[in-house]
C-alpha cells in the first residue's frame, strides 16, 4: 500500500518538471529543425512537414482552397521559413507552428484577394505573428528565383542541362564531359562558359527591367 502511494506522489510531483523539460527541449528541437532546414536536410523538412501541414491544409480547405492550393501555400511557407532561418539576424521569437501558420494565412489571403474571391469568412482569432516584412523579402526572392528560372528554361538544350548539372547538381567538369559526351573537361568548360554567357544575357535582360 505504501509503495503505491509513493508512486502516486512521484507522478504528481514529477509531472510539472517533465513539462518544463519538454518545453526547453522543444525550443532546442525547433532550433535544430531550422538549422536542418537551412542545410536542406530531408529529416528536418519531414518533421516540420508532419507537424504543420495538416493544420495549414485544414485552414486552406476551410477557406475556399483546394488540396493543391494547400500544398503550394505550405511549400511556399517552407521556403519563407528557410529564408528566415538563413538570414543572419534571425532569432526565433515564436514557435515554428505559429510562424508557418502566419505565413500561410497571409499568403492565402493575398491569393484570394488576387483572384477576387476574398470573403470575410477567414476568422481572425488565431494566434499569428506579424510577417509582412518577411513576406516582402520573400516576394523579392521569389521574383529573383522566377527570373533565373525563366532564363534557365529559355536556354534550350544542351545548355540548360549542362548548367543545371554544374550549378544545381554541383557536378564536376569531368563528370559533365562524360555525361554530355564531350571529349574532355576543357571542351565541357568552354561549352559551359558559352552557355553561361547566354544565361547571363537572358537573366539581366529580365533582371534590369524588374529592378
Amino acid at each position: 500500500m505504501k509503495k503505491i502511494f509513493l508512486g502516486l506522489f512521484w507522478v504528481t510531483f514529477a509531472l510539472p518538471n517533465v513539462l518544463k523539460v519538454q518545453k526547453v527541449k522543444a525550443d532546442t528541437n525547433e532550433q535544430a529543425l531550422l538549422k536542418g532546414l537551412a542545410n536542406n536536410d530531408s529529416k528536418a523538412i519531414e518533421t516540420i512537414y508532419k507537424d504543420n501541414f495538416t493544420m495549414v491544409q485544414t485552414f486552406i480547405l476551410q477557406n475556399n482552397g483546394s488540396y493543391d492550393d494547400a500544398r503550394d501555400v505550405f511549400q511556399e511557407a517552407m521556403i519563407a521559413l528557410y529564408e528566415k532561418a538563413q538570414s543572419n539576424s534571425f532569432v526565433l521569437t515564436c514557435q515554428i507552428k505559429t510562424y508557418v501558420y502566419s505565413i500561410c494565412r497571409r499568403l492565402w489571403l493575398k491569393r484570394l484577394q488576387q483572384i477576387g474571391r476574398f470573403t470575410n469568412q477567414v476568422d481572425n482569432l488565431d494566434e499569428t505573428v506579424p510577417v509582412e516584412d518577411d513576406l516582402e523579402l520573400h516576394e523579392k526572392r521569389n521574383a529573383e528565383f522566377a527570373i533565373m528560372d525563366r532564363a534557365m528554361n529559355s536556354l534550350g538544350e544542351p545548355c540548360k542541362s549542362l548548367l543545371q548539372g554544374y550549378y544545381l547538381k554541383k557536378m564536376g567538369m569531368q563528370d559533365l564531359a562524360d555525361e554530355f559526351g564531350y571529349t574532355n573537361a576543357d571542351n565541357a568548360k568552354n561549352q559551359k562558359y558559352k552557355c553561361l554567357l547566354r544565361l547571363k544575357k537572358l537573366f539581366f535582360s529580365q533582371y534590369n527591367i524588374g529592378d
Binding site: N40, I45, E46, Y82, R141, F145, D149
Partner: protein, 368 residues
C-alpha cells in the same frame, strides 16, 4: 573566345582560385578598365543569384519529395484515394506511438494489480488447513452433544401430550412455588420455562377456581433455587392511580408492560380484583403486577372484551389467603414463606426488570 576567357578569369578571381601574381595583375586590370570592373560586379551579383537559385531549387525539390513520401505513407491526406499502401499499415504508422504508450500503460497496470493481489491474498499453509478440519470435528461433536440436550429438553413435555394453554407465573417462594391463574392450568400437567428458555417440570399443588389462582411447584433436579426473591407481596389494597408494571409471556419472549390502577374493583364490581390500565394479551394471565417499589399488588387474569386496556388483576392479598389455607390443609406446605421485603425500592426500572426477570416463568399446560 575572348569573352569565355574573361568570364573564366572573373570566376576564378571571385572564387579566390587565382595565385597572388595573377590576382595583382587582374586587380590592376580591373582598376584601369571600367568595363571589366563592371563585369566583375555584375558577375558577382549573378553568382549570388545563382547560388540562391540553386539552393532554393534543390530545397523545392526536396520538399516536394518529402511531400510525396509522406503522402505515400499516409501521414498526409489530399483527398481522393488513399495511397496504394493498405489502410491498416497507414493506421499503424499513424498510431504506433499511441499504441505503444497504451500497451505499456496496460502492462504497468497489470503488474501493479497482480502485485497487489499477491500482496493481499492470504498465505495458504497446510498445517492451518489441518487444524481447521480438526476444529470442524470439534464443532461437529459439540453439535451432536447439543442435539442430544435439545432432545432431552423436549422430552419434558410428555411425548403424547398436547399443549392446550399457556400463561405466565411467578415465584412466591424460592423453593420453587409458582403462582399463576387457575384458568391457565386447564390440563393435567405443566412445565414452566424461565426467561432464559430453560424448561422445568412442575406439579400442580393447588387450584382455587373461585379466586382464579393456582400454585405450582417446580419438581426438577435441574432447578437451582434462587437465594431470595427481590420483591415482596403486598398484604393490603393498592390506591387508585398507583403506577404499575408487569412482566409476562404473551409470546415466547418475556414482555414488559406499564400502566396504572384504574379501579378498586374488577369486572361487575368484583372485590377480589382491581381494574388496571395496561396493555395485556392472552399469555399475560398469571403474570405479576408490580408497583414502583417492587411490591406485587396483583396477578393479571382477565380483560374486558371490546374495551381496550381494561384489564383485571387478582388482588395480592388473595395469595396470602390461599397459602394460609394450603398450610392448614397439608403440613407438607408449612414451610412456604412468602417474601415480605422488597429490595427494589428506588431502583431504576431497567435494573428492577433485570432482577425480576428470573422469577417470572412461562407456564405451559398440557393434557396427556
Amino acid at each position: 573566345m575572348d569573352d569565355n576567357l574573361l568570364l573564366e578569369a572573373i570566376e576564378r578571381y571571385l572564387s579566390g582560385d587565382m595565385n597572388t601574381a595573377e590576382r595583382a595583375y587582374f586587380e590592376t586590370l580591373r582598376k584601369n578598365t571600367p568595363e571589366i570592373d563592371q563585369m566583375v560586379v555584375e558577375h558577382s551579383m549573378f553568382q549570388h543569384q545563382m547560388d540562391n537559385y540553386s539552393f532554393q531549387y534543390n530545397l523545392k525539390q526536396n520538399i516536394q519529395e518529402v511531400h510525396s513520401k509522406l503522402l505515400e505513407r499516409g501521414d498526409l491526406y489530399e483527398g481522393g484515394e488513399l495511397s496504394k499502401k493498405g489502410r491498416v499499415i497507414q493506421l499503424w504508422n499513424k498510431y504506433k506511438r499511441v499504441t505503444a504508450i497504451a500497451a505499456s500503460v496496460g502492462g504497468v497496470i497489470a503488474l501493479i494489480i497482480s502485485g497487489l493481489a499477491v500482496y493481499f491474498s492470504p498465505v495458504v499453509n497446510g498445517n492451518q488447513i489441518e487444524e481447521l478440519s480438526k476444529a470442524i470435528e470439534v464443532i461437529k461433536r459439540n453439535q451432536q452433544y447439543q442435539g442430544t440436550l435439545i432432545n432431552e429438553v423436549k422430552s419434558k413435555i410428555p411425548e403424547n401430550a398436547k399443549l392446550i394453554s399457556g400463561g405466565s407465573g411467578f415465584l412466591i417462594d424460592v423453593k420453587g412455588y409458582i403462582i399463576t391463574n387457575a384458568h391457565v392450568l386447564k390440563g393435567s400437567g405443566a412445565v414452566v420455562v424461565n426467561s432464559k428458555g430453560q424448561e422445568f417440570n412442575a406439579i400442580i399443588v393447588n387450584i382455587d377456581t373461585d379466586k382464579d389462582l393456582a400454585i405450582l411447584k417446580i419438581n426438577d433436579p435441574e432447578y437451582e433455587p434462587l437465594r431470595n426473591l427481590p420483591y415482596s407481596i403486598r398484604k393490603n389494597n393498592s390506591d387508585l392511580g398507583e403506577q404499575i408494571f408487569t412482566l409476562g409471556y404473551p409470546r415466547n419472549d418475556i414482555v414488559y408492560g406499564e400502566g396504572y390502577v384504574s379501579a378498586r374493583t374488577g369486572f361487575n364490581s368484583d372485590s377480589l380484583t382491581y381494574q388496571v390500565q395496561i396493555s395485556a394479551n392472552p399469555g399475560n394471565s398469571g403474570g405479576p403486577v408490580f408497583n414502583n417499589n417492587g411490591e406485587v399488588i396483583g396477578i393479571l387474569s382477565t380483560r374486558q372484551a371490546q374495551a381496550a386496556g381494561v384489564v383485571f388483576a387478582v388482588k395480592s392479598k388473595n395469595i396470602y389467603q390461599m397459602v394460609d389455607e394450603l398450610k392448614k390443609s397439608d403440613t407438607a406446605f408449612e414451610k412456604i414463606k412468602l417474601p415480605v421485603h422488597s429490595t427494589l425500592k428506588g431502583v431504576e426500572r431497567k435494573q428492577q426488570i433485570i432482577r425480576l426477570e428470573e422469577s417470572v416463568f412461562y407456564v405451559k399446560a398440557f393434557r396427556k
